[in-house]
Symmetry: C2
Subunit: 769 residues, 2 copies
């Protein structure tokens, strides 16, 4: 755990520059707007350790995988988020020497992510090798209003000299992915152009043929006035810059305003991109930097109004949750149902930036409660639109009759993961996708989704389970063999309790939804039956037979559900038996040792208990929590949040608090030594759940929101906003009581500590402790 960044409730602050932390800082200070995003690389040249990253949402490259040995059915490609053209670049040359912070003496340096207003600011004061000193003040952001745009204000003050200054703002498409399997470049140049105050580069991805035009327009300000200038083009492959030679005077500020845009062939025909880029740049430069920045602050204020969580009395916890919410909003806005939430968002390349079950299990609840209904709905539609590919994927693995297996990792619906124990066996992801449909309907009450889209997905998933589950003649029960559960520290096990549980739940829920849709709209139901050739009686009989005869492993003696068959054959050690030198076990132990050990990577049985909490009495939950948590090493970023929620539910608020701190400050404090690769975006939604469902005790049951706040002793107060079926609520819990404000024109019934209250429109409810 590192203590590098300053604690501030609304900012992340780096004071002074440590090159060793630069890649971590680049991740943490990332900015984005759901459409584009980037790591906090420097505008000017930097020859030290850096991971360049500019990303355009939805633009990917299917990199040919290379494994030593093939299993039949492995995908040949892994879809990677592409490092796209660098639009922030500003080359600065002082008296013949290129500005490069790796080669200067750094007299002062400060980097600051302003989360309230959504921009990145950097100021520094350096002395170059010639002894010339400059101060730089740089602000940039990805606009939430003009979401194809970014803007930079870069001010240079010569501190102790007058003379030549060359500034070359540029667009550089000659970039690489550091995770490229064949050290190949993924972009080809289509065309480029230069004008006196701008430049344009259009690139096309190899294989996928995505076209992206990146363009800039710039102006220069001296003494608060725009100045005339003449630029000369600097051209290299996929690169174009506009070199401006200036004479500067000691103490006189020169400001470069750089407007940039990324426009993509996903949204416009490729041959219209140049025109579109020019139009966009004309529009924003007309508006001007200051207006854009002001609009950005307004847009973020709007977000925070719905999203913000206030933790009083604990600045670290406060900073942590705001950072998580900020990054989630930067990553996905829900405007485009072709997009999704990669594990690293726009903060790094790792994991390919594709879609995992994280979206359904962790992110959907966040967007349900903090954004318009369509945002979560678009996440669901993303999967609906990929149903054909999920059916094709299942077919590759030997399933038929429209059975669907959603991919473990995907960009466009095709599987692009290739470890057999995950790709083929971590099939519980199908369950999370069904659960998200249930969760969405439960939360929003929008049952039309089931009729129009949901049931079709549910039947396809249930068909998969009905084929994947087999009959054990010896047991006279159904079993599910050869799976990997959420705890990826077990592979190819039989009867993973979680997977068996969610599979049977999927079939039960599918039966319920069939009944509901038949009642609601028999015409649409019949159309679906015929579209997917659903043999209702035969197929539902099969579902029912499995539901009634499924085997669920359990241990009589300890009264817990068994993670899988044979779990009690393991040496029953606890994490507390492990010397710290052996941890994290995934870095210290060989894989076989991890597998045969009792140690658990992330919630598995407990994930099921979290999902289906209502089925279990508190004793059962406690027995399982007390059994599994001490065996859990939490080596997945998705682990602490579920444990925080369960600990809070069981009243162990201090343990919940420890889990919360770990999850909320995972990246700021670089807990897992891997923030340099990018931030853990999807687990940030888990952090939100830890606060709202854990300390806020929020649940939805029978169309009603309920709360049961329970605060750690470190917190004076906790407040958050929740949107629910057209109502915006603000809840504030402190030592005295709970205050719930209804900030809407509609009354609502809620449950607080199991008691029902009505909160009228625009009024509040206060319940003393």
């Amino acid at each position: 755990m590192k203590d590098y960044f300053k604690v501030d409730e609304w900012k992340i602050i780096e004071e002074g520059f440590d090159p060793l932390y630069n890649k971590i800082a680049e991740s943490v200070f990332s900015i984005g707007n759901g459409r584009m995003g980037q790591r906090a690389n420097f505008e000017e040249a930097y020859s030290g350790e850096t991971l360049q990253g500019n990303y355009v949402a939805g633009v990917y490259y299917p990199d040919k995988t290379r494994v030593g040995w093939w299993k039949n059915g492995y995908p040949e490609y892994f879809a990677k988020v592409l490092n796209a053209a660098n639009w922030i670049g500003i080359d600065v040359n002082i008296g013949g020497e290129q500005l490069d912070l790796a080669k200067c003496e750094i007299l002062a340096f400060r980097r600051e992510l302003n989360m309230r207003e959504g921009y990145l600011k950097r100021t520094f004061h350096v002395r170059n090798e010639q002894g010339k000193e400059i101060k730089v003040d740089a602000i940039r952001f990805c606009s939430m209003v003009d979401d194809e745009c970014g803007a930079i204000r870069y001010t240079i003050i010569p501190v102790n000299f007058s003379g030549d200054l060359i500034i070359t703002p540029f667009i550089d498409g000659d970039v690489v992915n550091t995770d490229a399997n064949y050290d190949e470049k993924f972009w080809d140049e289509v065309k480029k152009d230069h004008s006196n105050d701008g430049a344009f580069v259009q690139l096309r991805t190899k294989k996928t043929g995505f076209g992206v035009a990146t363009a800039m327009k710039f102006s220069l300000i001296k003494n608060e006035s725009f100045i005339e200038f003449t630029s000369s083009p600097v051209e290299k492959e996929k690169y174009i810059g506009a070199e401006v030679k200036l004479q500067v005077k000691e103490g006189e500020a020169i400001t470069l305003i750089k407007y940039a845009t990324n426009v993509s062939s996903q949204n416009y025909p490729a041959d219209a991109l140049e025109k579109r880029a020019a139009d966009v740049l004309a529009h924003i430069s007309q508006k001007g930097f200051d207006t854009m920045l002001a609009e950005q602050a307004v847009a973020w204020a709007q977000k925070w109004k719905h999203n913000d969580i206030i933790i009083e009395g604990d600045a670290k916890a406060q900073q942590g949750i705001r950072f998580n919410i900020f990054q989630l909003n930067q990553t996905y806005t829900g405007e485009d149902d072709r997009l999704n939430i990669g594990p690293k968002g726009f903060t790094g390349e790792k994991y390919g930036g594709s879609t995992y079950w994280d979206t359904e299990a962790y992110c959907v609840p966040f967007y349900l409660a903090t954004a318009e209904q369509k945002v979560a709905r678009n996440l669901l539609l993303y999967r609906y639109k990929q149903l054909d590919k999920a059916i094709a994927n299942a077919k590759l693995l030997g399933f038929n009759n429209g059975a669907a297996l959603y991919p473990m990792v995907t960009m466009d619906g095709t599987e692009c993961h290739n470890e057999w124990e995950i790709t083929f066996e971590e099939i519980h992801r199908n369950g999370a996708i069904a659960f998200a449909i249930y969760n969405y309907t439960r939360y929003t009450g929008d049952e039309s989704y089931l009729t129009d889209y949901g049931l079709e997905v549910l039947i396809a998933i249930s068909r998969f389970w009905a084929q994947r589950i087999t009959w054990s003649a010896q047991r006279q029960q159904y079993v599910m063999l050869g799976v990997t559960g959420p705890n990826e520290y077990e592979n190819n096990v039989n009867n993973n309790w979680y997977t068996n549980t969610i599979a049977v739940w999927c079939m039960q829920y599918t039966l319920e939804v069939i009944d509901k849709v038949k009642q609601d709209d028999i015409v649409k139901y019949n159309a679906l039956v015929s579209k997917i050739n659903f043999k209702e009686t035969v197929e539902t009989d099969k579902f029912k037979d499995i539901i009634s005869k499924m085997y669920f492993p359990a241990d009589e003696e300890s009264g817990v559900f068994l993670q899988q068959d044979g779990f009690m054959d393991k040496e029953q050690l606890l994490v507390s038996d492990l010397p710290s030198s052996e941890r994290p076990i995934n870095q210290k132990w060989s894989w076989d040792r991890i597998l045969r050990s009792v140690f658990i990577k992330q919630a598995d049985v407990l994930q099921g208990i979290y999902f289906f909490e209502d089925r279990f009495d508190e004793d059962t939950i406690r027995r399982n929590y007390d059994f599994y948590e001490p065996r859990t090493v939490h080596e997945s970023s998705l682990s602490p949040c579920v444990h925080a929620i369960l600990a809070a539910k069981l009243g162990d608020v201090e343990r919940a608090y420890q889990f919360y701190l770990r999850t909320s400050r995972l990246d700021i404090d670089d807990y897992n030594n891997d923030t340099e690769d990018g931030c853990h975006i999807t687990s940030m939604a888990g952090t939100w759940m830890a606060v709202v469902e854990g300390f806020g005790g929020m649940r939805v049951k029978d169309d009603t929101l309920s709360f049961a706040p329970l605060l750690p002793k470190e917190w004076r107060a906790l407040s958050f906003q929740i949107g629910f079926r057209g109502v915006l609520l603000n809840l504030k819990a402190d030592k005295i009581g709970v205050l719930i404000k209804n900030i809407s024109e509609q009354s609502i019934d809620i449950m607080l500590y199991n008691i029902k209250y009505k909160v009228d429109a625009n009024s509040e409810l206060f319940i003393k402790n």
Copy 2:
């Protein structure tokens, strides 16, 4: 199954040329002498489909592996058998046109592997694009006498023209491995040289730094006389040729004799290689091609005298077994204890040509019975010498106190395999290595090996098992979790019966050998104890505790040993339930489907029953055979032989015969559609076992050889030679009876059909049926 090659008892014959079969033929017609070997590539250029392969034993390259995801403890390198310099090359140019069978009209073509005398012969008659016809007659071999050498006699007859003929014998070191992970070339040039009648290229492998000098010397014959000639050098990178321009007359034969040598820095200092190559070439060219060829025939006659198996009345079976014996002798001669037997020998690159457990489980019995004692002993010493690395390997995986885990695949003792389910979990290989020590001692009676080497290996292996096996508190028994058994169609299973069985056997045998060595040589024993810090009482108590409390899975109902925990939960299908369109399952099914199916790749429980046959009554063997064989798809080349032996033992000689045919003609008939990659060398030893242990019923028990011949109805007679403790026996079984000749100066007691007989020196025993 293909029927491409002609059936002949002593030859493999290809009549006519089918380019589609060329890579298969290149594998099948491979030649070698244990020190070097090569695929049956053409001497002249060939632009069609071919897999170039020249190999020098023990020379390998650690190719950096590239997998999508790393598990802790994976090796970074995979040691590959190197495609070395092409020494056979003879470029032929007729009237300006390069001879290339892919571009000629082929009027006649015949390729023939003479197994009796150990050479490859090829004759063809072609018409080139200009209409010029030539006949070629080419013979080549890798000398068994001069084992660093090969020689070629290449005769060209212009059939319908007189004119220019250019012949360029060459050495080409600019070769690639088709399985290179990074399309990298593995050799660097050190130096090269040309003389009028020869050429020399010295190369060095990257990383490993092996030096290999490949050199040639040639002469030309016209009208049965050597002719004078002038050659001009042709030089390219790592290539050197000697171009000779000739005028030929219609019908007049021109013969090129090419002598070649590979000398390696494994045997001489790198700077002495050039001199050594020149000396060797001088020696063999002095001798002359005809003498070398005659010596080759004598050397092979000597081999066949000890090795041959004669099957009368069944030419296909005869050809099959001879081909297997021939290839085994070409691959490993036992002269050098640094060498071993790669799964493809010198016939292809696949599997890296390294050492697998195949050596101990399948090859040791063959060499024990058919070669001098030192040959099997050298195979054992190979592992002894790598014990330190096996201990280091185990340490990487978390074991200590001198526990050894031999690598799954190796060239020099370090692990170079990287699929976690195999590398880390297919640990039964350790058992086979211990079993080979037992087998060697049982066969040879050489107990000094135990004292000097064997016990040290056995203790290290038992230490591994004692740590790998864990205590199940719930069962109150020892268990072994997370293994892959011989049946690789199951991964990461608990309590594989075979692995549990051989592990416990290892500990039992180690205890026995400890007692024996203590009695035989307490001084050496004490030295060993101190060398390896063996805490005898504590450690043997642990072994004994495990032996007495080990859990072995079994199914009460069917009375069979269970392949692993949970096996009866599978859908109990039989191979006969599988439509042929679904087979082989490893090409038709995804990996997860294979894993959760009941289908077995190769003998697993039955491998254990084969090894420890004496422990089980015939009913038990039959029950297990009847249960497992119908579930076995035999998709490993190592599967049919063990089943043949068990079927023969159980009296089902016709089923045994079917297994035998499949294993013995696997490559000739390209059963598995993969002979183009190379021949299945190690399974060839299994074929030998199928004949001698299966149909011959040979066993060794209590220092006595026993036989119980049982012939398939297709065979008139079966005879084979067996060397046993200084005695050479020839056994011949036919419809009338069994004739055993003792061809040695020493009498021997043998068992025939469970009755004891004495066979005097140089006499014979005939027992009528």
